[in-house]
Symmetry: D2
Subunit: 456 residues, 4 copies
């Protein structure tokens, strides 16, 4: 769960990266960083824990001079969530100075790290991103694109990378294309971004996806190299991007996230046509478009049933259990006269642990909900993700340990409906339903996974 952004050939590269990162902030609220380079040698880098808008005050942006910049927002999946792991990382090596930012999760990280350690490498971070720098440093080639290709060839798992080397902005995506990476242009500057929304945010236009397995090297407003990783594999874009992770105004594989979600809602309505209800209520903000689709198809009116207090941020308060409980209640607040006495179709995007949903149901019951028909715009999450989404291990996935009926009882809802996996794929796929990774919903991992981790 990270976001990356890069821009080149731009006088305001760091400010553009700042705007891009604010737009990608939902992809990681824990730390953020920007590295900029202009003259090919001096890299100006600033990383900190916290939100983009808090970190990058104007005086900071002013010192991040340089015409090429990359940025990163991060939500740690590990406990070691400290400043030392905030990206971009900047390294010196035989190829000069290189800055790198990474979205994804490299599944053969340990093996490569062990191999590198045996040959005398040292590791400054606990992050898997550092081995990308090691692999770059130990490979050679005629062009940086070729070096890059050799370096990432051995990586398994998910990676969408942006790098700076000298005046070059480089993008790379694993062969499955697990994590998104898109190319845009603003004026004479190319832009790389995790989502199209950030390209538009800086006033640019979306050009195309960086292809699965593509390595793209840009310099001074020109794409100077585009290489393809040797083994061409079937694209497997993470379907959780559509379900939850991406902004609704982003576009993935020519399909708007918003449209995909509206259609998920319509499919849900079809699955639930026997349900009698008075209103459809989305859990804000991710349930809104599915609820809209549900309402459109079912004819049941959609109502705003909750006020979300945006002043209660997770990054603002990291307190004791008592404080956490107090502030959690303040975040989502029911509108009593909407809820009271109603039969409600409650729509959320996905069910992972079930604990948040349980609290929302209690809130609705206390506000007088007569019936609650809980609908998820995705199937039950039954398997952990190894490609960069922060899902817990199996024992904590409620749908991995409980039956649907048991979950319904646990949540205390009248009915519980998961979106059928084929419906989900049809909604997201624009016809083609095979290019998605849906391992978290069906356990079918496109690439080899360490069985020990799977069973952990």
């Amino acid at each position: 769960m990270c976001g990356v952004f890069g821009i080149e050939n731009n006088e305001n590269a760091a400010v553009m990266a700042f705007a891009g990162l604010i737009t990608l902030q939902h992809r990681g609220e824990e730390s953020a960083g920007i590295s900029a380079n202009g003259d090919g040698t001096t890299y100006n880098t600033y990383r900190s824990m916290g939100l983009v808008a808090h970190i990058f005050k104007e005086r900071i942006l002013n010192i991040l001079s340089g015409k090429v910049a990359i940025g990163h927002v991060r939500y740690s999946t590990h406990s070691e969530s400290t400043i030392i792991n905030a990206q971009p990382f900047v390294y010196n090596c035989i190829h000069g100075t290189i800055a790198v930012a990474h979205n994804g999760n490299i599944t053969n990280f340990e093996q490569i790290k062990n191999r590198l350690a045996k040959s005398g490498s040292i590791f400054n971070h606990t992050s898997d991103t550092e081995i990308v720098a090691h692999l770059l440093a130990e490979n050679t080639g005629k062009t940086f694109g070729q070096i890059m290709k050799k370096a990432v060839q051995c990586l398994q798992g998910a990676f969408s990378l942006v790098l700076i080397q000298g005046n070059k902005l480089i993008g790379a995506r694993d062969s499955f294309g697990f994590r998104p990476l898109v190319l845009g242009k603003v004026g004479k500057s190319y832009v790389l971004s995790s989502e199209t929304s950030a390209i538009y945010a800086v006033g640019g236009n979306f050009i195309r996806d960086v292809k699965p397995g593509e390595i793209i090297v840009i310099e001074k407003g020109k794409i100077i190299e585009s290489l393809q990783l040797a083994q061409k594999e079937k694209e497997k874009l993470c379907i959780f991007e559509q379900v939850y992770f991406s902004r609704p105004d982003s576009i993935l594989r020519d399909r708007s996230i918003r449209d995909a979600r509206v259609e998920m809602g319509k499919y849900l309505a079809r699955q639930m046509k026997h349900i009698k209800a008075d209103i459809v209520v989305p859990v804000p903000d991710t349930g809104i478009f599915s609820a809209k689709g549900f309402s459109m198809h079912s004819g049941i009116v959609m109502q705003t049933g909750f006020i979300r207090n945006h002043y209660v941020g997770r990054s603002f308060i990291k307190p004791s259990q008592k404080m956490r409980e107090i502030t959690a209640k303040l975040k989502l607040f029911p509108i009593r006269d909407v809820i009271n006495g109603k039969r409600i179709v409650l729509i959320d995007d996905s069910l992972v642990r079930g604990t948040t949903a349980q609290k929302i149901v209690i809130t609705l019951r206390n506000a007088g909900a007569k019936e609650i028909h809980f609908a998820l715009s995705s199937p039950a999450v039954i398997s952990p993700c190894f490609y960069g989404i922060d899902t817990p291990n199996k024992s904590k996935l409620i749908a991995a340990v409980k039956s649907v009926e048991e979950i319904r009882e646990f949540l205390n809802v009248d009915t519980l409906t998961f979106l059928d996996i084929n419906n989900m794929k049809k909604a997201c796929g624009n016809g083609d339903v095979n290019h998605f990774c849906s391992a978290c919903f069906d356990g079918k991992y496109p690439s080899p996974i360490d069985r020990k981790k799977l069973l952990a």
Copy 2:
């Protein structure tokens, strides 16, 4: 534009005040403060610039011990927005130590201040709230309620006050009841709040409004005094509370804000029945319920046309013009495929300067909007507020200097519709349309106003 909150007879008074203030945060994002007292003499007070959740970390709340607490959030209407004016204020005087927090604007402040200065008073703040403390200090009486009554009798304008004196929690509201103040109860503790939402936020129940002109004194879970200011005037609740200021889940004079806004939207739809449009798009977040009402009455489907980026807060970034422009664009982002090619009814709550609306229209035009029919769920703002809402002086109110047709041209919209003032009052009033102050819309000020200020 402030919010006040008070609670008494409660072991966790400061934490409850914190929860209340987070719920009232929309009423003032500039500074916040809490003062707590338990033993009748030592007041523990903390005030700071910034957001409630940023200021009141757990270690701060832990030192704010005491069973009575009041809190305040503030948006300054003056340039002197510094920590010195953050409330609550705490004073020693002949009546012991008193903490006071104020929502409103006292219109005869200068006269009283001059009178006090001539008799030898000194002033530590530039705020009008300080004179309340002076007036309390120079009056005597058998009970604190009586002292309070004498003190505030001479005040003109708007005030909703909460105070602590010893173990007592005191509330007071001007005779017109310009600004709201409500009474609730949670367990054995009475609560005073600017809005009902904050009472529910702490798990309490709404009891009743503090009446216009009422002074209420509470001690150890009992209402020990309720006095009425001598001259009983017609209630004149600020109708801008319903239009924009209050949270939609709050209730004012037995009328839910949400219902009032939905009905405003219905009235708007009636006014605009001749308009042909494809979709209704609210400006988030205040236009949502009016848009819902418009859609319900007109049958035109409501769509989410904007993504609001909640990471872009006004309190986060206070930068140069350049930075302000960059971040302003990031705040509200159009969803292209919703907007493109559509005839749009755009709904916002009110039109003050017109500059923000102008930018939103440009955004919609750039996203491909075919027609824009701009509807405001309030009449044109033509006169400044002297009772605590931060409206600019007349020369900056677009509707005070331009005709509707001129505004329509300025905004570059196809049609422009303001909600009829009577429709607004009917929507807000539950039948009774005379108890509102609507001076900003019609220039009829319930209390005397300095003409020089009016013409400034």
Copy 3:
């Protein structure tokens, strides 16, 4: 224990005040503040907890524009040492805006406060300085000097005040002249300061003491008024200034602090001529000049026996008991090969509680000191100060509750010698020994003291 500084008619008034306050920092390390005014109405003020050099970064100084500035450093004598009491205070009143900074302690503070409270005054601070503003506000006069005279006439105890009113810089000193206040000039600007050292620090020249009971009003480089408080009393300058408080490069009543201390040491040597010792070791830094004097007269060589670690500041670390003990040991470190096997004359300035001296003796014993002859360059402190020095109440003054022999045993020293009170006065007085307040050494208070406080 405070320091005050003022300068007028100067383009860099705040920077000059900053330089002055750094030079006076030893007089109060807890909080510091500067208030500047140029145009007669707008006062730019900044106060904070901490050290002058930490607080007044250049960006802060830059906003403190104005040609008249006063500054204050403070060491609280009360537990209420919070930012609210940091000076200068700035008030509005009938005379316009006034900034005030105060060194001293007003002994009839409670009586005056009660009188003011009864007549309806409110109090924002717990400090006695606030009543000066109240008294100014309730008095009138043809000139500000006359108002000032009326205001301070009723004050008992110690005060050295600097104020700004409009373009005027005002200084005032109580009739006894308990606390110092000197007048200097740099270029066309007059300077007021607690010590001459701060006048020299800003490149100025010392002119004269502000006389006991004098009120001096300066405007645009001219002394426009000099008034004398009605009752002319015998000057009683606090002799603790010479003993401990003032910088050695300051001059008080035409007598250099350094010379006074050297002579104290000579008198001590006379008193201890029977003592056989190898070396004289001062407790740094205040014992150094007395030790020098002792060595000069006795012929016993003076040695640096301790390294003082200036990185261990009291304001840096405010921790648990454990941390305090660790860092206390790091502050003063014995040089073993100086101490080991030696008969030592240990010289410190004064003995208050005896706890620090006890630790120093242990340190010396551990470093191998053979004999320790402890000499204090002042008599035993037997009575608390009510004029602004932070001495504890009687029960904690070791010499108030123990005999000299008991103290010697408590400290575990071979001999213990206090400087004879007459010798101290002779050393400080340049012949005239009657113009000192030595109440802390002899209990003779020049002005009436509340007996309850004395016996507390």
Copy 4:
């Protein structure tokens, strides 16, 4: 210019390191860090810009749990003085996790870095310390001591290293022993430190110097290995440690720094016996003991001529030129009545650029000094240091570009005397004068130096 400290087998390892670092703070005021390890795998590390006492608040120390800890204070010799280069560094490699802190300067750093880069290494820092980690990682051996020996064998220049590996505390010193490193013991814990003073500061006893070329490995209170680097070279301890750098209460090669400085002063007095003067005035704080020695031998009385304001720290204020000038003047303040009319022997430790000395002379002249005989307790600095002392390159060394007479004129002193190099060595050496590196004074570098750098 750095200081290192290590302790093992201690429940309060981080607190002890904190106390040690405060005592070594004079060796580097720019950044500080502590890394602690207890269980052999998790290293708790905190590094920051600033002073030890500012950085390591109690809450920080509490999270630095572990029974082995090393610490580092640093004064950067490069412009890249940022947090990224604050030590200790912590790395993972084939030998597990290793923390390393370094005092010194590795002269063949570039060659080794180039060799490593060619073989695929990446570099996270600009510091030469990082290559120590690389060399450790690429070597193997039966014990960590053997690995360490292989790793540092190829290093040229100066290094005194402390490391943690698992439960082991390791110390290493280059074959010349340029920089000091001493071994002590407190209870059951061994201590390594740049200076003996820090051993005493934590309550320990000095045992012995770590020998030049020695690698010492300590685990659980036992020295488990002591290896000697192959080529045994003549010890060449940096004589600048005695002249200026070390604390006077430290002991180097069985010689107290204080005694060495006193004797330097005596030798100076012999060299200057023809000079007639009234007083000897040291530049505080480093000139004090030499001045004492001068006074003892010459019979000319030593006087404290300056007040040093310890509140003016270089780390506190990093401002514009104007602010720097203002605060520079505040740091050292002349005592007029000591200076005025006197013939003064002014004693400082060394002369590098001459700019500070020039200002001090102006100060003394302004304070009325009649004659100034300037004496340095070291020879003229004519060559840069490549072993870790921050001297500028030749063109900025005043004695490299001017004759003694030219310097005397530049400084505007009556006479100028440098301590004879042999006298300096005799004073420092306890008889043996050959074990010192005095390259900065005589240009004789014990190890090969890059001629380009020498001529830079």
